[in-house]
Assembly symmetry: C2
Homo-oligomer: 397 residues x 2
């Protein structure tokens, strides 16, 4: 199979975007094109544009966004599609871009993920996100993602001894990481004691979906991220050394969470990771830095177990030991994660890869992981019903 | 590059669907799986599911539809994504499925296109479709697809001598074809004289967007269509002989129609077809049957010229000579086309391929084109801003 690399990354500041969806996607895309040394207009060489968005239709009432982006960037006659896979839309677009190049149909693919989602707030935002749930078996009963995560957390606590303080440690860690990431949404580190032990902890960190509190849940953010993918055999056209996509694995699980045999297992994560490791010829012991889909703090812990970093039920112990901090044995969510960097749904899977490319290039500044060579991203759709694991490798030299 | 074929087709009756979006997609998918001899459940062998839909979000307020479909069909752990490219979403999904197999990442891909769009009618439907236009340069001025097609038709009439009667001939032809297609939405053939010359022609066939009348415009239809794609090297697993995908070409043009140098040219159609011919090693003279995106009657004529079937400005003369009817030299839209079979947006590009597979297999009954060996489909997004041409070839034996 033809090898594929990444030669350009771009990322808007997550938070609030004051322009249109297309302008936001365009801003990230232009940064990625510029990073690769591609000039839009005649002779640009981009064969395919893939846009990842979950809410372009529901929230922004727009279709054919990918065609509009091609026009905005003057990338005609590049092929263009929009890809939707809930909160895993971004990794899906990267995967389809990988296939486009590996097939030999394309040499260069621009992948852009973005969500202009602060057009809704509060329950409307939660309701929008809940459109990914099963319409008849879940959504109509008022189930939401925080509700699922709350129930999942309770089961995890009872089964494995995870505590609210473990969750708060994940949150504080990711907020500390985000302080060093200029594109993160939230640059603020909550005081561990203030959000867990102080008399008014329940006031500044109230329950959202018990036992999950405000600081266990990602914010609602606008934002976009972009990548330039190319065939490794044409990588010398570009200004940046390629980071190679070494493995991609994806798996679906039951759409209805209640149908899972063991509700604390995330089988799609396990299978997606296994497939990615197999394709890359690597194992969990070879990974030096990871971005794991922490839409809720419990998910960082559970995913870190399912991908084989820690035994099942012991991920929270690694958090307690500080192993998952920058400086620890296996730093997780150095970008700040969904928790502090933000989670503009369609952007997230692309943003995770942007962070890992920066890590593998040594461009991550105050959050740099030393000697990082292999990196893993896990982008999680639904409540674990469609999961993609992507492994990146820094080439020698 | 690894060769890709089609071994299963499925299609709901276009018109009104009384169940849910997922049920409709599932009905077409099950028919395609059954046609290929694939049993859902353990050992199904489907690696990837791609769903094409333009309105799942805007109209049906659903996301993650592809994951839901995997669950409904018991196709876990197949990978799954939804693809959106306006009215060309279907052909985009076929293209991405092709890439998935050609890359070596997949052996078997299920492609399902569908739209549950009769939840809106009248101006609401027209407004939904208009979400594919440029939001700032077109949509906010009240431009709609029928308005564009009307202006395009007027220019075509003035430049090339096309008449309203030529358009009516396209409509009557396609309605005649649809009479032989059990899955077509409309089984009714308008009388040519009654809709063009009779005293009350303007009453039964009034202007929608002058010079386009009711019978020049496709209906609003629910419907779904599905294909099973496989690598040619595993095709003997399946019950049906494969029809090979010989070429795929796609091109984007300016999103804003007013920015085109010659507004009567459809450059993206021309380029997409050229690319598809080149990949297939064929030319327009080699095509025996075609499905061309006749959302408006004028488009069948204009596309038939841009793909090289007839010289520019002479497509309507071929219609007058009867060449594009079943039984003529080059039958176009034997399915009834978007005009009479219906145009459930995300379904259309898949439905075109279903029809051509049936033609190449010799399963097209009363609309069968004799000795058809090579077939062309053109699926048209926006007002020609993103176009995909697909060429199918019947294998020997």
């Amino acid at each position: 199979m033809r090898q594929v690399g990444i030669v350009g990354v771009g990322h808007t500041k997550f938070g609030r975007w004051d322009g249109s969806l297309i302008e936001m996607l365009g801003a990230a895309a232009l940064e990625a094109l510029d990073d690769a040394g591609i000039k839009p207009g005649k002779g640009h060489g981009v064969d395919q544009v893939l846009v990842a968005s979950m809410g372009a239709g529901i929230l922004n009432r727009q279709s054919s966004v990918a065609s509009a982006l091609v026009d905005t960037l003057s990338l005609q006659p590049a092929m263009a599609e929009t890809v939707e896979n809930g909160p895993a839309s971004g990794a899906s677009a990267v995967k389809l871009g990988y296939m486009a190049i590996a097939s030999g149909m394309c040499d260069v693919v621009l992948v852009v993920g973005g969500e202009l989602m602060r057009v809704v707030t509060g329950w409307e935002a939660t309701d929008f996100v809940a459109t990914m749930l099963h319409p008849e078996a879940e959504y109509i009963y008022g189930l939401t993602l925080p509700a699922f995560a709350g129930m999942f957390t309770r089961l995890y606590m009872e089964k494995y001894g995870v505590t609210e303080k473990d969750l708060a440690m994940v949150a504080v860690k990711n907020h500390e990481h985000a302080m060093h990431n200029p594109v993160a949404h939230i640059h603020l580190v909550p005081n561990f004691q203030a959000i867990t032990e102080d008399e008014d902890a329940h006031v500044i960190n109230p329950y959202v979906a018990e036992p999950l509190r405000v600081y266990d849940v990602c914010p609602v953010s606008d934002g976009a991220a972009a990548l330039v993918l190319c065939a490794m055999d044409v990588a010398d056209r570009f200004s940046k050394r390629p980071v190679r996509i070494a493995g991609i694995g994806q798996a679906t699980d039951t759409h209805v969470v209640a149908e899972r045999e063991v509700p604390t297992d995330l089988l799609a994560v396990r299978l997606a990771a296994e497939r990615a490791y197999q394709m890359a010829g690597l194992g969990p012991q070879d990974i030096h830095v990871a971005e794991l889909h922490d839409a809720f703090t419990i998910l960082e812990i559970a995913i870190s177990e399912e991908v084989g970093f820690f035994p099942k039920g012991e991920g929270h112990l690694a958090v307690r030991r500080g192993e998952t901090k920058v400086g620890g044995k296996l730093p997780i969510n150095t970008s700040g994660g969904l928790k502090a960097k933000g989670h503009p749904l369609g952007a997230t899977g692309v943003s995770q890869i942007v962070e890992l490319v920066r890590q593998l290039r040594g461009e991550a500044g105050g959050r740099q992981v030393e000697r990082a060579r292999n990196a893993l991203a896990v982008n999680f759709g639904g409540f674990g019903n469609n999961v993609i694991a992507t492994i990146l490798t820094r080439e020698d030299g």
